[in-house]
Symmetry: C2
Subunit: 240 residues, 2 copies
């Protein structure tokens, strides 16, 4: 497959401490798949400057698009913008267009644009703002790194803002066939089928449900006709 690649960087002690179960990775994975971008890697790192800078550099060099989640709010533990600036050796300061957005938003609500809230207008030099239709404080894009909020409702809105600007590929389609047999029984013929349909990615995902073992066989690819042919073969190999 030659679809464009992407990586995600989740910044969040709350995930690594087991306090919060990730929701943004699951959302982004589904959205990117729909538009033919291959999410190749996700990293979750803690709210630690060195760890974030290192991950931003590494992912930015390796993948076409990088999307980050978390750490761009007004509190002391929100250090993502500074880290992305540091990763690309850029200055960072309050920017007028971001300040104007925030000022108008808080003015409408009769809330003061205090020093903490103004932190959310700090944007690395040369970055483009990412629209936040939910709570206004913008994300930003610097080079191939798209910096977004961690709050799921805001993250999802920012992803929706950015998706139309990303160059997608052929949408990845899939068909699933559920087999109530042990993986060990189906592995041989399935491996032969996978070798024969090497333009598809054929995965076997075992499950255990109501005391029964089985596997979901997922055929993925960009050619719907090829997937259909392989599915028919699979269904004949392992009738339900």
């Amino acid at each position: 497959m030659t679809n464009p690649t992407a990586a995600m960087l989740v910044i969040g002690d709350e995930i690594l401490s087991g306090r919060t179960r990730d929701a943004n990775m699951y959302h982004l994975a589904g959205e990117l798949t729909k538009i033919g971008i291959d999410l190749k890697e996700v990293r979750v790192v803690s709210d630690d400057k060195d760890a974030i800078v290192r991950a931003v550099k590494s992912l930015s060099e390796t993948y076409v698009t990088v999307i980050t989640s978390g750490g761009i709010g007004p509190t002391h533990d929100d250090i993502t913008a500074d880290c992305v600036a540091a990763a690309f050796d850029r200055k960072i300061d309050v920017r007028e267009d971001a300040r104007t957005l925030l000022a108008a938003h808080y003015d409408r609500q009769g809330i003061a644009l205090n020093e903490a809230r103004l932190r959310m207008a700090r944007i690395p030099e040369g970055a483009a703002l990412i629209d936040n239709p939910v709570s206004v404080a913008p994300g930003f894009r610097l080079k191939n790194v798209h910096v977004m909020a961690g709050l799921p409702s805001v993250f999802q809105a920012m992803v929706a803002s950015v998706l139309p600007d990303l160059t997608g590929g052929a949408p990845l389609m899939s068909e699933t066939w559920r087999i109530y047999r042990g993986e060990g029984d189906i592995a041989g013929p399935l491996g032969t089928l996978a070798a024969e349909y090497s333009d598809l990615s054929i995965g076997s995902y075992p499950f255990q449900k109501d005391g029964r073992y089985g596997a979901n066989i997922v055929l993925r690819g960009t050619d719907a006709a090829l997937i259909a042919t392989a599915l028919t073969r699979l269904q004949k190999l392992f009738p339900q």
Copy 2:
């Protein structure tokens, strides 16, 4: 904090394609936190040999303990054991103790130990087996890398097998205080408090629920008395 560090490597196209929502990361994060091991990083990579080998090497060099999830079943897409062997330049082959475990297990059920199932007895040279009380096919530990199944029920059982052998630290405790005010209002005083209690990790996690914005402030640390003192201060700063 000087607790031992850990990283997790999730191997799975099914997560990256958005088909499956991760469960193992969430489980492991909670379990490690309880015994005082700091989960510092999680990586999710696809079922790709180079990607897995690179991640195993990198995480193994950086953290005290590495735990992997997924890719040790009998099907063609299960390549984790081979990748871990390659990462450490070890040979891999069917090992007698693992074969004996599998043979006894399948014999009890009247199922043939065929070539596919025998793949699950392939263990890198020098590795120690990890007990699998659910479905018998073992995981293994090679150097500081613990290789476990991806099926959540089996992953959790293997984690339980391994936890007693890991050297933990001071268990990380936490208290949460929920504040129904915008983060921008609380950020100033909260930052001052966080600077004062620098032995604690104080995080602010915004939420939006039933149309109201607020933040959960989480105080984390290994000193229960210090957490209690900081919590009292926090409650006085932001009464409910």
